[in-house]
Symmetry: C2
């Protein structure tokens, strides 16, 4: 076969593999949305079988032969197929190291652990989950052995989520932000704690849902190629370019939790809906990394959804959505309430100032468990100690402690750091956006999200995996990964909000001055 025919063959085979991956995603989606209670065991087997099949297809002798044939031909490949072959070879070189029975065992163990986690979380009984975590930690160690690594074994896992990133670099950046954020949180904690009595109402779930659906549509999410459902833990999943789904959860005692999760998952989904059509059913129509993925969700949730101009735009509609409940509440009130800083227990409900601290402690615990310094049986104690250290609050039970996240049930050590990296990338990109989009905040204030989405489509989304995350950040911002933009973003937003240091207090500013968006100054 000549080169062109081989590329065509590769596309056919990748199409099949992507179909199987999409199917695995669907099995997971259904498991978390509509699956009947007793179907979990059978579902676990299905996911394990399909995961193993995907692996078998990708590492088959035919595929191996085909892929190897490109290694010496990379230079001869036309520009439009070189990235495809390179990315596929990169994945192949990782996946081929894992034996099929290991992949199947891992998938099966994850499904079992997920079912156990659901129960353990519900009952706040760590002992239900512990044996599964032990099994998964062992499997992750085996995985790092199969994959190989330089330096710390954690690198082998981190690379799977954040190509080119090292534990050392993450550790260094986390020190910088950990330090700065701890200081900021401390300063905030010394101010008079604000109170928001008006938040203590019952917010009708249907009205929350409807409001979220409108916002999701407004920001550009395409409902012809997606949908939103309910699940205990919100997530975004993709079965193809025309089928990118999000989920949320709605609590009637929490006005913002559903909306913010919708904006967050919406940000993820806009990314996935923005890949090139030509890359469909190949590995190019995927996120460059989880960190860059998270930068998109964080930007829509925090930079936009927690900005004053956003709420100036939505205030009227917001009031109408909850008749009689918000009549005396104005945009600044919402802005203040939605940016409350509070040392709290639950990561997914944490504010922007404390969020990364939650991530840092998970990163540290994962490294210790992987290295064997921390045994899974000692996790609750270690968790509670770190919460005490970083946030200074006691953990009442494991449901509010080490059982709160689903992630460890899916054996995803190395995943958590990408949440904090996402914050950093988002701040770097956002700095640039404020420079490059004229009258940025006027657009937001008038509910026009198109300029932002177009910018993101152009600089981030459309590339898929044609660029790596460092390349995307470099091309878009002219810099490498940096912690300073995020630290600046936080200080510029929260110091005025809490009347800290020389920044003017928010209370002295009028909405038209664009409160809380003082990064506009860098425009």
């Amino acid at each position: 076969m000549n080169l062109e025919e081989r590329v065509l063959q590769l596309r056919t085979r990748l199409g099949e593999i992507c179909d199987v991956s999409a199917t695995v995603s669907m099995l997971h989606w259904d498991q978390q949305t509509y699956m009947p209670p007793k179907a979990g065991e059978g579902r676990g087997k299905q996911i394990a079988t399909l995961s193993a099949l995907r692996h078998r297809l990708f590492t088959s002798s035919e595929m191996t032969h085909l892929l190897e044939s490109f290694r010496d031909d990379l230079e001869n490949l036309p520009d439009d197929s070189r990235p495809l072959v390179e990315v596929t070879l990169y994945d192949f070189d990782r996946d081929a190291k894992l034996p099929e029975d290991f992949v199947q065992e891992l998938a099966q163990s994850e499904s079992n652990a997920f079912e156990a986690w659901v129960q353990a979380h519900e009952r706040s009984e760590y002992s239900i989950f512990q044996p599964h975590l032990e099994k998964l930690v062992d499997l992750q160690k085996r995985k790092t052995d199969y994959l190989g690594f330089e330096g710390e074994s954690y690198n082998a896992l981190l690379e799977g989520y954040e190509r080119g990133m090292t534990t050392e670099r993450v550790s260094a950046v986390f020190q910088e932000i950990g330090h700065a954020q701890s200081e900021l949180v401390q300063a905030i904690s010394e101010t008079e704690p604000p109170s928001y009595h008006w938040l203590a109402q019952v917010w009708k779930q249907q009205n929350q849902w409807d409001f979220g659906m409108k916002v999701l549509s407004d920001i550009g999410y395409n409902f012809s190629s997606g949908r939103q459902d309910l699940s205990a833990h919100p997530f975004t999943t993709t079965f193809g370019p025309q089928d990118v789904r999000v989920t949320t959860r709605v609590h009637e005692d929490d006005l913002f939790s559903a909306l913010m999760s919708t904006l967050h998952e919406g940000g993820h989904a806009l990314y996935e809906q923005g890949f090139e059509e030509a890359d469909e059913r190949t590995f190019l129509a995927e996120a460059a990394s989880l960190g860059i993925h998270e930068s998109q969700s964080r930007m829509w949730e925090n930079m936009i959804g927690r900005s004053l101009p956003f709420w100036e735009h939505y205030l009227l509609y917001f009031r109408q959505s909850f008749p009689g409940q918000l009549d005396s509440v104005d945009a600044i009130d919402v802005y203040k309430a939605i940016n409350r800083v509070e040392r709290s227990l639950i990561r997914v409900e944490a504010d922007e100032c404390t969020y990364n601290l939650h991530v840092i402690l998970r990163f540290e615990l994962e490294r210790e468990m992987l290295s064997g310094n921390l045994k899974p049986r000692d996790l609750p104690e270690a968790w509670n100690a770190k919460i005490e250290k970083y946030l200074g609050i006691p953990v009442p039970d494991d449901a509010n402690g080490c059982l709160q996240d689903v992630h460890w049930s899916s054996a995803s050590f190395g995943y958590f750091p990408t949440y904090a990296l996402g914050n950093l990338y988002a701040a770097q990109l956002f700095e640039k956006i404020l420079e490059e989009i004229p009258d940025f905040w006027s657009h937001i204030e008038s509910g026009d999200f198109k300029p932002l989405l177009s910018w993101l489509r152009d600089r981030v989304h459309r590339h898929g995996r044609r660029l790596t995350t460092p390349e995307i950040i470099q091309q878009a911002t002219g810099s490498e990964l940096e912690s300073q933009p995020y630290i600046n973003y936080l200080k510029n937003k929260y110091e005025p909000l809490y009347g800290i240091s020389e920044n003017p207090s928010i209370a002295t500013l009028s909405p038209s001055e664009g409160v809380g968006i003082s990064t506009r100054g860098s425009n």
Copy 2:
């Protein structure tokens, strides 16, 4: 490997294949319930890929080798694994005849045809669907060539749905029931047409849904291992013994359509929830045939759901479900309304007396298209002529004519006859049930469906494919397939209802005499 090890290996491989089949079912389920509008094309590719993969797994050289090794060993197999090997060999001998690329092409064409059918049906534009039907008819012809057949080529397809049944036998039985039912319908049409003004109300969809959910639960459907959703065309699908799902549709101008479809699919689902746990993830945990499957849905829908004792039980709750709308309606009124006989256009809404006539015309058209005597382009004309012949009514448009059913979009020639066979099996089984379950109708009248479900579990469900349909019918009733029990059932029910012949008119009977259930006489 010794025999025991080979059986174990077979079970492992079948488990994988069943997982892939379940996944294909899930892709279909989602396509018809929750899938976003634009995702159809991608979904088609996924279904095609997974169908081809299933085929590849089942006909792999490893599987072929394994299965062939059993052929001379069938006598040596222990009793608990012989049926498993036999059924698997039976399927293998059919599937192995189909090349993988044919399977993939068929699955892909079906998905495309389904999408086209949805549009064609919506707009009532046959031309949208015609090229797809042409393609599918060609593919079905090729399929019969691959499979081989004795007598008419239609036999090759019929065998796929109704093992052991022949076109000749179906044709003969259809003549008997066609003749008897035409006569009965003619006699009914000569009586004074009853009117049911009270039906012409708006029936709140939520209330219909709630009522259906209660009935579904009452008859024994297990919601821990299943769920009901909405879809345009109701269906039952199974992803495993603990995940058997049904769908329905709700029309606010039709009081009974949703409930009857729920009972119908519920009957299918009770069958699937009744397979032996030990047969899980093998081909034994499947229906013996589609005809016997349909006998279960028909029994719950018609013999039970359209009986007077059923409505005597539910009347109060029914009234409460639609406050103020049914106060002057009693059980006999419902019984009469729900057993209206009317020559009408839509098969799925047809009554028990005309239903088989709809099936017979489809059976005839399929045979003609497969033999080439009827070209797909001439289908609408041929359809309309047959409706005129069998039902004496004009067809206003193709949506109410040859586009009404989804089935031909999934290339399922040979499927329709099983609907009528289901009616016949149901009547044969029901005759026996009335003989063997003491005070049968008192149980129904008091809402106790357990004796019926237990009987069906014992005589039909638990066997899965351990017995063939002829064996099930023979063991349960002592007879072969017969048309007379269904003809008797219809006459005994509808002649009194319409005051025909020597049977007393229903109007002269009181509910306590068990009107319309004169088959009780055979008790």
